[in-house]
Amino acid sequence: MNATLLNPHRERDRRPIRFLVFGLITILVFGVLTSRLAYLQITSGATLAARAESQRTVAEAIPAPRGLIYDRKGRLLVANVATYAVKIVPSELPYGDRDTVAQRLGGMLGMQPSDILATIDSAPGSRFDPVRIAQDVPKDTARLVSESSQQLPGVHVAIETRREYPDGPLLAHILGYTGPIDGAAYAKLRSQGYLADDLLGKAGIEATFETQLRGTYGSEEVERDATGRDVQVLRTIQDAVPGASLTLTIDRTIEREATQALKWGMKAAGLKRGVFIVMNPQTGEVLALVSLPSYDNNLFARGISNKDFQALLRNKDKPLTNHAVQAHYPPGSTFKLVAGTGGLQDRKITPTTRLRTRGYLTLGATRFYDWNHAGFGLCNINCGFGHSSDTFFFQVAGMLGADRLAYWARMYGFGKPTGIDLPGEVSGIVPSNQWKLDTLGQPMFPGEVYQAGIGQGYDVVTPIQLITAYSALANGGKLYRPQLVHDVVGPDGKVITPFKPDLVRKMPVSQATLRTMRLAARSVVTLRHTYNLVDMPIKVAGKSGTAEFGTRDSKGRLPFHSWFVGFVPKDPYKGNFSDTTSQLAFLAFAYDSRTKGNAGTEIAKAFLQLHFHIKKDYLNRDLLRRGNFYQSN
C-alpha cells in the first residue's frame, strides 16, 4: 500500500495539454466517422440501397421442357424425368478449400476427387457460372450434400430434368442422347441463350433436331442470398416455350424385329458388327435402323463416368459409331446394280445381249477370276445379275469405262451423304479417273475399272446409301432422301412440319431398264443364288454381296463383309416386280463375316420371317457355319 501514500494536497505532475489533445483527437475521430457516415447514408444512401437491391435480384433462365419423341405409331421413345444434380459455383469455392471440398464431395457422390477438380477446371463458363459435377444423384445423397452446405462452400443441389430412354440400346443410334454443353459449343451457342451448365443434344436425333426439341428458355427475376441460393422468385419476365415433339418414321415393332434378326445372325455366325435397315421405297421413310453393337444412351443422359466412357471408346467394334451412316464399306456384288443399270441405259448391252462368262478374264498378264471358277457360259443381264457373275460385270464395266460407271453410281446417290437426319454421315467413295488423279496421281487402270464394276475396287458405300439406291430401283427411279422424322409437332399439338417425301432426283433411267434390273434382282432369288430364299411364301427380289477387304490369310483368303439388300412387292404374296409399288426395302450388313454362306441373306430371311409372321423356318443354319465363302465354292 505504500505506493498510494500520497500527499493529497501536493499538485501532481499532470499534463493538461496532453489530455486536451486526447480529447480533441476523440472529437476529431468521431467527426470523421460521422461525416463519412453522413456521406454514405444521406448523400449516397439511395444509390447504395439500389445497388444492394440489384445484387440480390438476378435474372435466371427458366429451362423449357424439352420436346418428346414418339415412333410412327405414337409410342413414347423418350421421357423427361426430374433428377437432382450437384453443381459447384467456382467463385464461391475458396481456392484453399478446393481439395478438401473435392475430397468430401467425392466421398458423398462416389466420384474421384481429381475428376471433380478436372470438371471444374474444364467448365466452359465463367467462375460465376455453376458447373455440373454430378447428374442423377440419388435423393438421399442430394439431401446429404445440401445439408452439408457448411462444409461444402460453393456446392449446390439443383433439380433439373434429364432424358430417360426406355428402350436404351434399341434406339440409341437413332435417338442419340443429351449431355452437358462443352466449351466450344458454349462459345458458339451462348448468344442463343444457352447456359454454361446447359444440356443439349449430342448425338442422333437429339443433336440434329436440337433447335426444335429445345424450345425457348424463359427468364425470371429471382432473389438470391449471398451464397447464391435462390430465396424466392419475384416475377416471371418471360415464360418458357416448351420444345416441339417429334414423331419418327421409325416403327418400334419393326426396329425390334430387325434387331432380333440381326442379333440372331450375328450370334449364329460369330459376327462383331452388323447393320439392318428397313425403308419404305415410296417415301424414303426409314422404318428401322439398327447398328450393332449399340450402347445404352441412358448412361450419357445420366452423366457417364469417365471409366464407362473410356470403355466405350476402347471397344474395337465401335459401339458409339452408327455403322449404318457413319462408316463406309466396300459394297461387293450389290454394286452390280450400278454397272447393270449403266450398261443398259448407255446401250452397251440390251436385256438380251449375251456375254460369255468364264472362270476368269485375262487382262495383259493378270487373270481376273469369277467367284465361280467354272463360269456360267453365255449369259444375258438376267443370268449375269442373277448368278452374280463377276466376269459378266467385268465386261460391262469395261464397256462403260470408269467415268460412266462413276456417273451411274452418283445417279444412285453414292459418293455423297444421303442427308439422313443423323449427324456424322460419311459420303463413301465413287472412283472416277479425275478422283484417282486427284487422290493418287494416276488415271484408273482397266483392271481397276473391272473391280469397280463388281464393287471391289476403290468404291466404298454406307449401308444407308445402298438401301436408298435399291429403294430407287424398287420405286421406279425416284431417289429419295432417307428421313427419320415424320412430323414436328408443336407444344399445342399442331403439326408444324408435316412429312413430305424429299425427292433428291428423278433418275435419268428408263422404266424399261429399271424393270429389267428388278426382274434380274428377282432372278437372284429364283435362280437359288441365295439358296432357299425363294421357298418363302413371300416374293423377294434383291442382291447379295460378298465384299473382300483387309489382308489375305495364310491360305491366301481374304476376310469379307456380307450384304443382302432387297425389297418385296406391295403385296408380298401375290405381287410382282414389274410394278413399282414396293413399300418395304431392307438391307442386312454383316461385318467381317467368315461363313460358308452369305450371312446377310440369312439375317434378311430371319427378319422377313419375323416381320411377315412366317411360321415355317427357312433359315439355313448350315450356311452360317464358320468357313470361307470362297473356299466352299
Binding site: R12, R14, I25, G45, L48, A52, R56, E92, A226
Partner: protein, 382 residues
C-alpha cells in the same frame, strides 16, 4: 464536481453517502446504454440468422454474458484496486501464460489459434490481455512518476508490452496487437512521456513497415490491406466485404430499415455480422440517427473515463483511465472505420456492441477498476 479533492477528506471517511457521491453514476449509465445497444444488435442478428427471437443462441449468449459482466463490474468496483498494483507482476505473467496457452491449444479459423474452449464456451484471452496489460502498464508508469519524460520509462513500457504484442501477433491476430500498441501509445502520451522520443519511435516504426510487410504479415492480412486500397480488385474476396458493408450502411439511410429488417444481412451478404461487421448492421437498421446516438454515447463515456483519470490522485488511476480510453477510442475508430470503408478490414470488435464474452468482461473489469479508483480516493486520504 463531486470529486473535488478538498471535499473528500471531510465526508468520505465514514459515510456510505460519500462513497455514492464519489461513484461516477454517469459513467455507469453510458456504459449500460451501450451494452443495451449490444443486446439489441444481438437480438436482431439472432432473428436474421433464422433463430427464434428469444431463444436464439446469439441473443441468449449475449444475455448471459451481460449478466456475468454486470457481476464482474460490481465485484471490481467493490474490490480495492490497490491490490492490483501489488499483484501487477503475477498478473503480467498470468497474462503471458494465457496467451501462450492460446497458441498451444487454441482454435480458430483457417489454422489460427484465437479461442480456448472452456466447457461449452469459447474464450478469447487476447481480449482479456488488453485490460491486464493496462493494469500492468498503469502500475509501472504510476511508479515511475517524476521520471516519466525519460527514455527509460518509454523503453521500459515498450519492453513490458513487447512479449504480449508478439504472442498475439503469432495467433495471428493483427487487430488485437494493434489495440495493444494503441494502449501503449495512448498511455505514454497521456503520462507525459517525452514527445521527442515518442516521435522518434513512431518514425522508427514507420521505417519498419516495409520489413513487417515482407516478413511478418500473413497473406490474408496483406490481402485485406490491398483490397482496402483497391476495393474493386477482388469483388468476392476481402474487397467484397468492404463493398458489402458500405452497401449495407448506405441502404440504411437517415432513419434505418428498422430492427431485423436488414435485407443484405438476412441474405447473409455480410460476413461475421455479429462481431466484426456489427456496425454496418446497426447503421442499416437504426439509420444515421441511431449510429450518431451510439457515437454520442461513446464520446460521453470516453469523457467520463478521461475525467476520472484526470482527477485521480493516484497516478495508477490516471494511467489506467488513459489506457482504457485509448483502447476504446482506437477500437471504435478502427471497427467503425472498417465498416464504413475508410480503414482496412481488421478483426477488432466494437466495444459493447460486438458479441463476445471476453470483450464485454474486459470492459466490465476496466470500468469497475475506474469506479474502484473513484470511490477509494477518499480512503486513501484517510
Amino acid at each position: 464536481m463531486r470529486a473535488e479533492p478538498g471535499r473528500f477528506a471531510d465526508v468520505a471517511a465514514k459515510s456510505v453517502g460519500a462513497v455514492w457521491r464519489a461513484y461516477d453514476l454517469q459513467l455507469t449509465v453510458y456504459a449500460a446504454l451501450l451494452a443495451a445497444f449490444g443486446l439489441v444488435m444481438a437480438y436482431t442478428n439472432s432473428v436474421e440468422s433464422g433463430q427464434s427471437a428469444l431463444t436464439g443462441t446469439v441473443f441468449q449468449r449475449a444475455l448471459m454474458w451481460s449478466a456475468i459482466a454486470m457481476v464482474v463490474y460490481i465485484v471490481m468496483t467493490a474490490f480495492d484496486y490497490r491490490w492490483l498494483k501489488t499483484l501487477a507482476w503475477p498478473i503480467y505473467f498470468v497474462n503471458l501464460a494465457l496467451l501462450v496457452m492460446t497458441l498451444a491449444i487454441g482454435d480458430g479459423v483457417g489454422g489460427s489459434a484465437r479461442w480456448v474452449g472452456i466447457g461449452p464456451m469459447q474464450f478469447q484471452f487476447s481480449e482479456l490481455a488488453k485490460i491486464l496489460m493496462i493494469i500492468v502498464l498503469a502500475t509501472y508508469l504510476g511508479n515511475r512518476e517524476g521520471k516519466l519524460d525519460s527514455l527509460g520509462s518509454i523503453l521500459g513500457a515498450c519492453l513490458l508490452m513487447g512479449p504480449a504484442v508478439a504472442l498475439v501477433m503469432l495467433q495471428p491476430d493483427l487487430g488485437t496487437s494493434l489495440v495493444l500498441a494503441s494502449i501503449l501509445a495512448g498511455m505514454l502520451f497521456l503520462s507525459g512521456a517525452s514527445l521527442r522520443w515518442l516521435l522518434a519511435m513512431a518514425a522508427g516504426l514507420l521505417a519498419v513497415i516495409p520489413v513487417a510487410w515482407t516478413y511478418l504479415l500473413r497473406d490474408y492480412q496483406k490481402d485485406r490491406i490491398l483490397s482496402f486500397l483497391n476495393p474493386g480488385g477482388d469483388v468476392q474476396g476481402s474487397g467484397w466485404q468492404v463493398a458489402q458493408s458500405q452497401m449495407t450502411v448506405g441502404s440504411g439511410g437517415v432513419l434505418g430499415t428498422g430492427l431485423t429488417n436488414g435485407g443484405l444481412v438476412r441474405g447473409g451478404y455480410l460476413p461475421v455480422q455479429e462481431s466484426d461487421f456489427v456496425f454496418p448492421v446497426l447503421a442499416q437498421e437504426l439509420g444515421f440517427i441511431g449510429a450518431v446516438v451510439v457515437f454520442l454515447l461513446f464520446m460521453a463515456l470516453l469523457w467520463r473515463i478521461l475525467a476520472c483519470a484526470w482527477r485521480s490522485r493516484d497516478p495508477f488511476g490516471t494511467m489506467f483511465g488513459a489506457g482504457l480510453a485509448s483502447a476504446m477510442l482506437f477500437q471504435v475508430f478502427v471497427n467503425v472505420g472498417m465498416g464504413i470503408g475508410i480503414l482496412p478490414v481488421t478483426g477488432i470488435p466494437l466495444p459493447f456492441i460486438s458479441h463476445g464474452g471476453a470483450s464485454l468482461i474486459s470492459l466490465a473489469i476496466g470500468l469497475g477498476v475506474i469506479q474502484s479508483v473513484n470511490i477509494r480516493q477518499s480512503r486513501a486520504e484517510w
